[in-house]
């Protein structure tokens, strides 16, 4: 493990030294692509327990708790998600499943245990709220880097760490509610640290702040993130617990069988 890490960091450095006169500067596209891989595609699969605290603008709190399973079909490409709800009580045992597609709409299913119903959900709108929180579906499963034009605004220090600040402008403005967003990406681990979204009037309306990062199985992982609605007020804080990577989740888990009978190996 240690040797691998030495190689991971040493190799690029070596190349840098061997090629005199060149400075290896990543383009904005490369940075965003790398950040997307680090943030959304860590390991080949993963399982985590999500605790979501949603506060509306009047300060009323709601609480969601779920187990999320993820499997990557290809890095940077298709993924399967399986979200099992533990809380609130009225949606306990409900399962939401997504086959994330690149270049076409996702496939979504919802299982409603009280009536044993597997429902297909039309999933055109990736920008609607996930489970009533301040995160959209796309915030949960990751926005495709190809959907935006990226430019580096500047390099800076954020909390003492060097970051890239990148402006992202959507290619298709009609299907999103923002005009652009800015992300702060750590130069060391390439995890996003912060993102600011600007509405059509170019006013700041949403801020995501990564509040805690832990290294799990050698992978730097966001374990706490806050989304604040600066326009209307309110916020959602998500904490990830019991994170495990590469646990060997089979592709077959993401099918109707396991909607009706959740895989207890991972969901307790």
């Amino acid at each position: 493990m240690v040797t691998i890490r030495i190689f991971r960091y040493a190799l690029p450095l070596l190349i840098l030294l061997l090629i005199p006169g060149t400075t290896v500067a990543l383009t904005a596209d490369e940075i965003i692509k790398k950040a997307s891989l680090v943030y959304n595609y860590a390991g080949d699969d993963g399982v985590a327990r999500l605790k979501m605290r949603i506060k509306d603008r009047r300060g009323r709190e709601r609480y969601r708790e779920m187990t999320m399973l993820r499997k990557d079909i290809e890095d940077g490409g298709r993924q399967y998600y399986y979200v099992y709800f533990h809380r609130p009580a009225d949606v306990e045992k409900m399962v939401f499943m997504v086959w994330k597609n690149i270049g076409k709409d996702d496939d979504r299913w919802l299982y409603i245990p009280a009536i044993d119903l597997v429902r297909r959900i039309a999933a055109r709108d990736k920008r609607s709220s996930f489970a009533g929180s301040h995160f959209t579906y796309e915030d949960v499963s990751g926005r495709n880097p190809e959907d935006d034009e990226h430019t580096i605004m500047k390099d800076e220090l954020l909390d003492g760490r060097p970051v890239y600040i990148i402006k992202n402008v959507p290619k298709d403005k009609d299907i999103v509610e923002f005009s652009y967003y800015v992300t702060w990406i750590d130069k060391g681990d390439f995890l996003p640290r912060k993102a600011e979204y600007f509405d059509k009037a170019r006013r700041l309306y949403k801020v995501f702040t990564v509040e805690k990062i832990e290294t799990i199985q050698g992978i730097p992982t966001v374990v706490k993130i806050r989304a604040e609605d600066k326009g209307r007020g309110g916020e959602t804080v998500v904490e990830f617990e019991d994170i495990r990577y590469d646990v060997g989740i089979k592709k077959s888990v993401f099918h109707e069988r396991y909607l009706r009978r959740p895989p207890r190996q991972w969901i307790r």
Binding site: K104, R120, D125
Partner: protein, 422 residues
């Protein structure tokens, strides 16, 4: 009434405290619900100012015993206590009591009382022949109660992308249909819309080995497309046969259904098609006027996300009566004549607002051939994670007294439900 309510409430509280203490609050969930439905229609029922006034405690409990862990057994219990003022009765009912297990890596089994659902329809059913409770549906109870449980054994076999479900139901359970006590309807024997005056008997098939109902589904996924084949052998869930017209005896004739469905992404939404051939096994030629004719049901559906938490669902159903000429020949003077084709459309609009705490919806059934309509508007608000208030209505209208929704005209209602989840 007041004394009764106090007794019920204390019984309910004791039961709740008991279950929580014994099993721990983490494992027992459920709700308390109060529901009231104001009747706007006729005065033919047993009570005429309302058709729902009830309190319900529903609890569910999941238990994973630490034995035969390779089979991953899970015991599930869901029951309720219903204090029903309309019927002036308190009922305790087990809604689900079943055990699920995985005897082989590719086989799942579920035995006991369970809710069963399949097919592609939204509140319309073609190949789902499992029992339904239309009384609950029409008076404004939660959608959950449209489905009635079956005492059944379900075995599922999974091979790659293909799966087979086989369900055996040894004890016949019919739909809970309108019989005039709470909701008025067109009584074909009395020849008009009737309420409590309607008094008939409904004979169920006896529980014999031969009468075990079998429902099966073979399905396969092709990427995001799902294709299913269905076969059912059993009985009509509605009393579609008359055994003794003078004595007012209805029964549930034999029925076989063969069908298929396809569902998957289509253009900007999700589309589906489902077809079922209803083989009325006791009247194959269609000559018997006292037994329902065979039929084919065609259903096409499409749902789309319009953005901004608004979605729309559209369905079109065509029911074709087979052997229509024989049916016409068999009729007697005075019988009303049904059409060969019945067209039915539905529209569902659903909107989430205020951080998805408010859910507004409208579901409309409309039949251009029967010239009747049924509208189900509703709004529900989650005041907290645990407290939900629902307001809704069931509105029926039709040109003729004898059509599916036209006969319901006297049953219009506005209802409200308050539910506390725990």
């Amino acid at each position: 009434m007041r004394k009764c309510a106090v007794v019920i409430l204390s019984a309910v509280m004791t039961l709740y405290v008991f279950t929580v203490c014994v099993y721990g609050a983490e494992r027992v969930h459920g709700f308390f619900e109060g529901a009231y439905g104001l009747k706007l229609g006729d005065e033919r029922g047993e009570k005429n100012s309302y058709n729902m006034l009830e309190g319900r405690l529903q609890a569910r409990y999941t238990y994973n015993p630490a034995l035969m862990e390779d089979w991953d057994p899970e015991l599930f219990l869901k029951g309720y206590l219903l204090a029903d003022d309309y019927r002036e009765a308190v009922d305790g009912k087990i809604r689900e009591l079943n055990i699920s297990f995985t005897p082989l890596a590719y086989v799942d089994a579920k035995m006991g009382r369970q809710i069963l659902t399949w097919g592609t329809g939204d509140l319309l059913f073609v190949n789902d022949l499992f029992p339904k409770d239309y009384v609950s549906f029409f008076i404004g109870r939660d959608d959950e109660y449209l489905k009635l449980p079956s005492d059944a054994v379900k075995v599922s076999v999974f091979l790659e992308d293909t799966a087979l479900d086989i369900v055996a139901i040894p004890f016949f359970k019919p739909n809970n249909t309108i019989r005039g006590d709470r909701l008025s309807y067109y009584d074909i024997l009395l020849g008009g819309i009737e309420g409590k005056k309607s008094d008939h008997t409904f004979s169920k098939p006896p529980a014999t080995f031969k009468n075990i109902e079998i429902a099966s589904r073979l399905y396969r996924t092709f990427g995001a497309m799902e294709a299913s084949l269905y076969a059912f052998k059993g009985f009509y869930k509605q009393p579609m046969g008359i055994r003794d017209a003078a004595g007012g005896e209805f029964y549930f004739p034999g029925l076989n259904v063969y069908g298929f469905s396809v569902r998957g992404p289509l253009s900007r939404g999700v589309g589906g098609v489902e077809v079922g051939l209803y083989d009325s096994s006791e009247d194959r030629g269609g000559r018997d006027r006292l037994v329902e004719n065979s039929a084919i049901k065609y259903l096409a559906g499409y749902t789309m996300d319009l953005g901004d938490n608004l979605s729309i669902g559209l369905q079109y159903m065509l029911e074709e009566m087979l052997h229509y000429d024989s049916y016409r020949t068999g009729l007697l003077e005075g019988d009303f004549i049904r059409d060969e084709f019945r067209h039915l459309m539905t529209v569902r609009l659903a909107k989430l607002s205020m951080n998805q705490t408010v859910e507004s919806g409208l579901f409309v059934f409309y039949s251009p051939t029967d010239r009747d309509i049924y509208m189900r508007p509703s709004v529900s608000y989650s005041a907290t994670d645990d407290l939900r208030v629902t307001l809704g209505a069931n509105i029926f209208s039709g040109r003729y007294d004898y059509t599916e929704f036209g006969q319901m005209e006297g049953n219009n209602n506005i209802y409200t439900r308050v539910r506390y989840n725990f």
